[in-house]
């Protein structure tokens, strides 16, 4: 008796979202990236289609994080003081599909940079690279509400991905996206119910569901990775079942989460039994990304070029000709 593969039939699909705008669409990017469109569970090519490969974004900072782990400092080098040059290195040397600019320097407890200074940073990165941008605030709601509209404005028409809108702070970000033609990241604290709620709030505020990417505050390996993974999986199942409020592509901040872990960042002299620091840290990051690849994540925001290269190799080997 011939074996017949039992296949799931799904009613829904993940939304398609395109980031970036070329000259033809009123922007200045040299290309755009599209994510989503999946009609089945991740990596199950026999059951559904994955029309677009997951995307690797690399993160640059306006002001480099205090105590950048030494493998990161070595990989990035002197350009870590210059976001534009850092971004160019990510694209030209490390092969990033997207650059994610994090404006941590705006945080009142950090450099408290002004909206105007932050906007200058965004402009410098836009000029330095041709790939589309993700632009993140500093995470302090009041300050982000001052900084992000100005940054959105200077990038008007570039169809960037702006982060983030939360349940308690979404109106300003949504308005900025609507005004300047950007896409929006909705954020939830590892909570699928809150994720769905933010999406409803943002959509009620007038932003089309097709302009949203979802972000669950990522947990790195050893620090909640399995929670993030299982929420991604459940979110994908909801999308495939036809829940339009959870059908957006997903993003994970892999680099910044993983390099927080002591296991990733501890120098060799502190923990010689843990082995080579650069290898350990980059594997920490790549393994976390690998789990999220299986969970259905679409955009990976990475730090280290070696981790990004390992992730790219995993995508190539797992997806083959599929997408």
């Amino acid at each position: 008796m011939p074996f017949e593969m039992p296949l799931e039939r799904w009613a829904g699909a993940v939304n398609l979202v395109t980031i970036g705008a070329t000259g033809a669409d009123g922007g200045s990017r040299t290309g755009t990236v599209t994510v989503g469109g999946d009609t089945g569970l991740p990596l199950l090519g026999f059951e559904g289609k994955t029309p677009h490969r997951p995307i690797i974004a690399m993160e640059v900072f306006d002001v480099p994080p205090a105590e950048l782990p030494s493998p990161m400092a070595e990989a990035v080098g002197e350009v870590c003081q210059h976001p534009g040059a850092w971004a160019r290195k990510c694209v030209e040397e490390f092969g990033a599909d997207l650059v994610s600019v994090r404006l941590m320097g705006a945080h009142p407890d950090r450099s408290n940079r002004s909206p105007e200074q932050c906007a200058e940073t965004v402009k410098s990165v836009l000029q330095a690279v041709g790939v589309p941008l993700i632009i993140w605030g500093c995470g302090q709601p009041e300050k982000d509400n001052e900084v992000m509209p100005r940054c959105s404005e200077v990038a008007a028409g570039e169809n960037c991905l702006l982060g983030t809108a939360t349940q308690d702070n979404y109106k300003t970000m949504t308005a900025a996206c609507l005004a300047d033609g950007h896409k929006l990241i909705t954020e939830a604290p590892l909570d699928i119910n809150i994720q769905k709620q933010v999406n409803i709030l943002v959509s009620d505020a007038g932003l089309d569901l097709s302009r949203i990417v979802m972000y669950q505050a990522t947990g790195g390996l050893g620090y909640g990775m399995e929670y993030a993974y299982s929420i991604m999986e459940r979110t994908r199942l909801a999308a495939l079942s036809g829940d339009r409020m959870l059908s957006m592509p997903m993003l994970a901040l892999v680099g910044s989460e993983c390099w927080k872990a002591k296991e990733a960042r501890a120098p060799e002299e502190v923990a010689p039994e843990w082995g080579s620091a650069p290898e350990r840290g980059t594997l920490w990051e790549a393994d976390t990304a690998n789990a999220f690849l299986h969970g259905g994540c679409h955009i990976f925001v990475m730090w280290h070029p070696r981790s990004a290269a390992l992730l790219r190799a995993m995508i190539d080997s797992l997806m083959g000709e599929e997408a």
Binding site: N193, I194, K196, Q197, I200, L201, D204, G242, D243, M245
Partner: protein, 264 residues
């Protein structure tokens, strides 16, 4: 739950008058209102008073089609009226309904195949409505077997276990729940289950309370679809909450709004 709006029915005075006067506006408003209220499909029934049922159905389906592309459940017992309604409504329509006796299945199953329609089959046959759940399941099994034989997939069959007014026969609601549950074991994939819900409260006081309470009970038993008054917003709220409690939707604080806007 797959909600089929019941309001475009000549039993209602507004609809009967609109059909008589060939006045499209009340019909199209009912179509739009029911879809906005959460209906996935619309039942269309010319009612018992229509002078020429065939011509009335033609007008009614065309009139609704001008307002929406949503699936229509053509509600008639007359094969010629059904065929014409399906033809005008297009593929993906619903036949409402056939009974379980062979003569009727011989007519309506091939019709479902020809028009790519889903077939609603009542668990009634030449002997009437069975007294218990076993009798209902037996008719359902016969329908599913006949459908598969003629090339109609089980998931294009919806079994209606026929609810009767609670003030006429009180054991029936329990029998219907049992039937809904056992029908899921008939085949793989199983047929869908549907119910003409409002009949449960016919002739009672507090119809809305009885309707929504029984709807929640049937959902818990596994009901897939219902023909019901989607404009009863309290009932639809109860249905949405039940879907949530059955883990068929992901919770969020605005879950009522999420369910409704998810269908827009």
């Amino acid at each position: 739950m797959y909600a089929i709006g019941e309001r475009i029915n000549g039993m209602f005075k507004v609809v009967a008058a609109a059909i008589r006067d060939r006045n499209p506006e009340p019909i199209q408003k009912l179509a739009r209102d029911q879809l906005a209220a959460g209906a996935a499909a619309l039942d269309v029934n010319v009612g018992p008073a229509a002078a020429d049922p065939l011509e009335a159905m033609e007008w009614l389906v065309k009139t609704v089609r001008e307002a929406t592309d949503a699936p229509l459940a053509i509600d008639t017992t007359k094969p010629d009226v059904m065929a014409r309604g399906l033809e005008l409504a297009g593929p993906g329509s619903i036949i409402n309904s056939t009974k379980g006796q062979q003569e009727q299945l011989d007519i309506f199953i091939p019709m479902a195949v020809e028009y790519q329609a889903t077939l609603i089959a009542l668990t009634i046959d030449e002997n009437g409505i069975p007294r218990d759940a076993a009798g209902r399941s037996e008719i359902a099994l016969r329908v599913v077997a006949a459908a598969m034989e003629k090339g109609l997939e089980p998931d294009h069959v919806m079994i209606d276990a026929v609810i009767l007014p609670v003030n006429v026969t009180q054991p029936t609601p329990g029998h219907v729940l049992e039937t809904i549950h056992s029908i899921k074991l008939l085949s793989d994939p199983p047929p869908k289950t549907v119910l003409g819900l409002s009949n449960v409260s016919q002739g009672t006081t507090m119809r809305e309370l009885i309707n929504r309470t029984y709807l929640v009970m049937t959902l818990a038993a596994g009901l897939d679809a219902a023909i019901l008054d989607v404009l009863d917003s309290e009932m639809m709220d109860a249905m949405i909450a039940a879907e949530l409690l059955l883990n068929r939707a992901v919770y969020c604080d605005d879950f009522l709004k999420a369910y409704r806007s998810g269908r827009a």
